[in-house]
Amino acid sequence: MATDHREAEQLVNTSDSDLQEAEFVETNEAPGRCDSAVFAKTDDLDDLTLNITNGVIQNHRGTITSLIRKRSKRSNTPRDQETDADLTNNSNPSEQDIANSIEQSELSSELSEDEDVKNGLEDLSLQDTESAPEEAPSVTLIPSASESDYVNSLEWKQQKKHIFILSESGKPIYSRHGSEDKLVTIMGVMQALVSFVQDNKDNLRSIVAGDHTFVFMNRDHLTFVGITRGRESTQQMLLQLTYMYNQVISVLTHSALTRIFKQHRNCDLRRPLSGSEKFFDNLLNLMDVEPGLLLTSVRCLPLDSSVRDIVSQTIVQHAKVKDLVFALIIAQNQLVALVRMKRYYLHPMDLHLIINLINASESFKAAESWTPICLPKFDAGGFLQAYVSYLDEECQTCLLLLSVDIEAFYTLSECCTKIKERLNRYNALTAISNSLQRHSYSVQQCSIGDLRHFLYKARSTAQYTSPELGPPYNTPDQQDRLFGLYHFLHDKVHSVSRPLKLLYHVGQYETLLGWVTQGFELYAVFGPLVTKNIAIHAVNKLLRWIKREEDRLFILSSVTF
């Protein structure tokens, strides 16, 4: 590890001299750059520090209220007032329900606690000592039918990443592996650790034990715990936990969450969250394969700019409806087009929650849906209503219309019919499905010899592009390893204590180059035998290639209603 640092420094130092500088900045304009931002501008590091200080949520509150106020001002009919009143009234019965449920849940957790105390303690001692017994290969431990056996099995302990959510009083809310019911004791211990440190007016951030890292995050009476033995750094785990927190907010809203805990400190949050477990599971799976979440940026579906213009203009023309804040089309986790209300931006973290919603749910394929969704970066205090419908028979291309008008369903449904008809007439849907079938592009298309894979993020637009995973990264294991390399590279470049502009790292199987400028972030993976000069030339060539293709790979113009 020490050697990488030295090499990186060398490069940074040498790049101060004019010669190297000239070599690197051949393309002085970052590809994928555009002046009118498509998304809210982001910097993952800024995000994190902001999140740590806990102030970010408050900053984003009130957007929806102001939109609704604007709306009721515009049409001050008694009907609208009735709606608003209904909404506020309606929140009460559900809270009462929660209150009723509390007593029940308290009872059950006490009962199970006694049973599990012994097992849980054994669990912990094993995890802390970190010595996985050699005589028991996980293959022989086939998970038994019983859930409680599973959480005590070696297989459970050897999972690469664990994520837990628990309430301030130590009540289990979610566990990625195994049923959270059976983890009451271990979660109690986690909460004890957190409270013990909090007692001294301090915060427990992370624990490193052997090759495991334990990361803790407290937010709004909830404790998020991430345990990994992968290559994620503490910062990156914190980002993942922030996504989990955002997912909770997306289901409940920040206001409801604080209200619930204000009324009942030891409320069982699983009831209000019921039915959304798979969103958490799916989000965590996405994080393991989708670099966009690590880079807090979005991947766009490669599409001729003329086709993309047709798509977004069709939306503008046929969905020009009052109170419609965002309209977007998503195909296989990639953004096809986004149209937004003037002055309002969609944050990539919010977009990832939307993509997760579509990705995790089969039910949208059956019929048009109308569902509340909270976008924490947009406004953590309230819900937007989302109209969701697939545009094609194969259910690949999905249209989302996000509005603050709770009654707008039929209007938006008509918009959708018109949009669908127009897109069919202009063959845009065929173009989208063709692009989906072509599977993006391979790294060979960039015709750069030793380049194996890369991630390129245009910072001003918060979009990224990367080629298909080809050999040698065609097995899940290898893809996992590649993703680990990116985590390592990203962490080194963005290290809090010493951020780097450039990092050249020679590893055992590949050479890595990370390069961060004002305009972009580039993470490139080369074969192991590449030299520094070849890598620099390759990267410059790659930037020129991306520049040539930028119309196709990125959304460069932001379209508003």
């Binding site: 048009e368 369903f409 039929y410």
Partner: protein, 210 residues
């Protein structure tokens, strides 16, 4: 939320996993996927909307069906889905006692907020009961007693075999048509009253200003 093109708004309510979506799937698309697709994967998010045209006699009626999510977190919002509904199909799982208690809750909600909504009680998964009568947790006489209280109708359906599924919707449609025949005179009268109210109010206001 009253649709422009829809004649009757029907809402499905009930506990999660009682088979509301399956019922709609069977009725609109005449298909059943409950055996092949694990039910956790298709849990409804928010509410789904579907429409179907039925002909009763020589009249065509468009039924707009709101299939709501059973998860409790949507409960607070559910009023926007049943507001103005002509009929509600309250589903409960014949083999799950707790889902019947949930049905009582929904009946209470509807009586409180939507008095004019016709209630149809629908016991689902009848095929399970046929296979194994021991699974039945809710006796028919219980449901009939409840239905009498709310002047509702009772069905026991199976989306798997299709038993009685379309019967519910045909009944809703014919109820609607017979209500149309009796209503027009009454509706006109109400309209008149509303107009007069409005005009008198306006006079009063302008008088104030002067």
């Amino acid at each position: 939320m009253s649709g422009a093109k829809v004649d009757i708004k029907v809402v499905l309510l009930g506990k999660a996993y009682t088979g509301k979506t399956s019922l709609v799937e069977r009725y609109i698309h005449n298909r059943f996927s409950g055996d092949t697709v694990p039910y956790q994967n298709v849990i409804t998010i928010g509410a789904a909307f579907g429409a179907k045209t039925v002909s009763i006699g020589n009249k065509n009626v468009i039924i707009g069906i709101w299939d709501t999510a059973g998860s409790e977190r949507y409960e607070a919002m559910s009023r926007i889905y049943y507001r103005g509904a002509k009929a509600a199909i309250i589903c409960y799982d014949l083999s799950d006692r707790s889902s019947f208690d949930r049905a009582r809750f929904w009946i209470g909600e509807l009586q409180k907020h939507e008095e004019n909504c016709q209630i149809h009680l629908c016991g689902t998964k009848y095929d399970l009961i046929v296979d194994n009568p021991d699974l039945r947790k809710i006796q028919e006489r219980e449901t009939f007693a409840l239905a009498q209280d709310v002047r509702g109708k009772v069905y026991e359906t199976s989306s798997k075999t299709g038993k009685d599924v379309s019967l519910i919707f045909t009944n809703i449609a014919s109820d609607y048509i017979s209500s149309l025949r009796n209503k027009p005179a009454q509706e006109n009268k109400e309209h008149l009253v509303a107009l007069r109210n409005a005009s008198s109010k306006r006079n009063f206001c302008s008088g104030c200003k002067i």
